[in-house]
Symmetry: D2
Subunit: 195 residues, 4 copies
């Protein structure tokens, strides 16, 4: 994960939710730390590594007020990863925490939340503090011990809302050599510049 920064996390944009009665918003979760993990159901590293890690996070921090949220950020093979397939996937892989379907955007392969957070591909994760600020984000998998330490620090922060910068800009994304899946990560194409 990159060094902590103090940017306020942008909001989630979802076209559908699973495993929750009502849609969730980061604004509504202010005061609690949030572990947001982005995945695609056909991303091998997500299936073999990231989702099992998410379950370990849920188990280790079950007695805390950490909120885990998945976001299905399809940026390739759109016709292959529909909500119907996602629903069956969540069932078969026993994913029981809330999952948002990232909102598609006309004219772009990259969905809205993925673009707002500046995610490079899947699996990615973002740890958000009690005050709504992004504490760290990762493309690929961090090891369990480091992520356990990070989450513990986020939980240890005082629960009252603290001062955060109110303005923010999307993370700059460095152009990547080649999109596609390799080494346990699926990399998105660099999105076109949007006016």
């Amino acid at each position: 994960m990159s060094a902590p920064d103090t940017r306020l996390a942008p909001e989630i944009a979802a076209s559908a939710w699973f495993n929750t009665r009502a849609p969730l918003t980061l604004a509504g979760l202010r005061g609690r730390p949030v572990f947001l993990h982005a995945f695609q159901l056909l991303c091998p590293g997500c299936v073999s590594d990231a989702l099992p890690q998410v379950k370990r996070i849920e188990r280790v921090f079950a007695d805390t007020d950490l909120q885990v949220i998945g976001i299905h950020t399809v940026f390739e093979h759109h016709a292959a990863m529909t909500p119907v397939t996602l629903q069956a996937f969540l069932h078969e892989y026993r994913v029981t925490s809330p999952v948002a379907v990232d909102l598609a955007e006309d004219g772009s392969d990259i969905p809205v939340t993925m673009r707002r957070f500046g995610l490079r591909g899947t699996p990615s994760s973002v740890l958000i503090g009690r005050n709504g600020a992004i504490l760290s984000h990762a493309f690929g998998i961090e090891d369990d011990m480091a992520i356990g330490a990070r989450i513990a620090m986020a939980l240890a922060a005082p629960q009252r809302a603290t001062q955060v910068p109110t303005a923010h800009a999307p993370a700059a994304q460095t152009p990547d050599e080649a999109a596609g899946c390799a080494d346990g990560r699926c990399e998105a194409p660099v999105p076109e510049t949007r006016a």
Copy 2:
């Protein structure tokens, strides 16, 4: 795997093929051993265990005349595991050997090849000898060492066709307590008796 038997393997029934220019038939492969593996793209044990093992089989026996064939035997979540999704799955998981889409059958969740072979669920595998006889079949994953030994024995058999029984009946299927995925295997519902 169960004890060897001498039943002639039934033929594959496919509605589509991937990774091959022309459809394959077991009849056309007579004289070569065939490792047939049945999977579903949303079956966790298939993805985490069976497909990586298939790749190890392909690597260890690359210099032999063993033919590896996958068969996508969808018996649940049919709308979620279409050929479009399968094609993207095969791409993302780097499956390069021939894969057949098992032929759906009106009025049954169980596709034709799966029924003909009497497969209980996924992952399943069937080892077929040079003479077309079923040497062994397994529901779930066998360990690598045992499967390496089995395939070596199949390869060691004389290459000329030998006498095999010409009549065969589908394997009797014992009623299972409960369909669904657990312990790395997805179990099919017991198919209705067909007149």
Copy 3:
């Protein structure tokens, strides 16, 4: 690990040290958190699980003031696990952090430090806070995420010494059904009561 307690950790008693120029004492380390791990070189769970985890701890917390200390607590096969064998073991397994040889005690299979801490067997670990208090202890292996969280919390504590109870008693040890190695842990015989 058991729930945190506020007992002051007893001192290490060593007959020899490896990987350090001068003997270490917990008193001398007051102000820093200490991760103390007890092992035996012929304990399978120590070799396969605990020592690799210790190396991950060293890597993840390399930039902190956490002190990792190993203690070779031989309580069985004493003639087989001499300092000569330990030295070669530490070399072959690339253990580079300080390791104490627990002081043998006449008339007991259980060495002194092991007895003082009330350790049940190997692998065991004890996390000691900046103030010298035992924060948690474990017999067997905790998962990485939980241990990462614990150590982060210990590091987050204020660095000045805080009030701790000055009196303490060895942890009561519940009689165990059977000494020996199983399930990745080697259990010590319940030590005789010492007058």
Copy 4:
């Protein structure tokens, strides 16, 4: 493993045996395939990979006449890996098949059997056919599937003794860059030429 050759295996030279009532000889085992595995108790790759694989071999081929034999070929840290330590090691690691202590040779770090077979280090394995010929040998670990295939082929050979060359020379040993343990293998120093 290297390509099969038809050299007759040299005989084992042992100073002690564990897990067998009487010493074993390859001559006395003629007619049965033998899987000979060389290890050192302080060799990390032997402990983590080779010995667990040996147990899988024993399990998969339990109903065959394959004979598994371990040989403790100490070529470094001699004072650290004595028979006393080996005995405790075999107990703790549940090694139950016969193990020979390779015979030390005056003036050499390399013991006799290790030299006769031309082993480069540990872990090493040698597969010997029913006729006493070396079928293959490996330095390091082969994968399970390949080794399962090799052993199956050795078992499939006709049980009567077949013609083998009676003369043989020790395998030529290519000088190695550096002795020591790395990548799961411990490499022996190139032995001095013996007149």
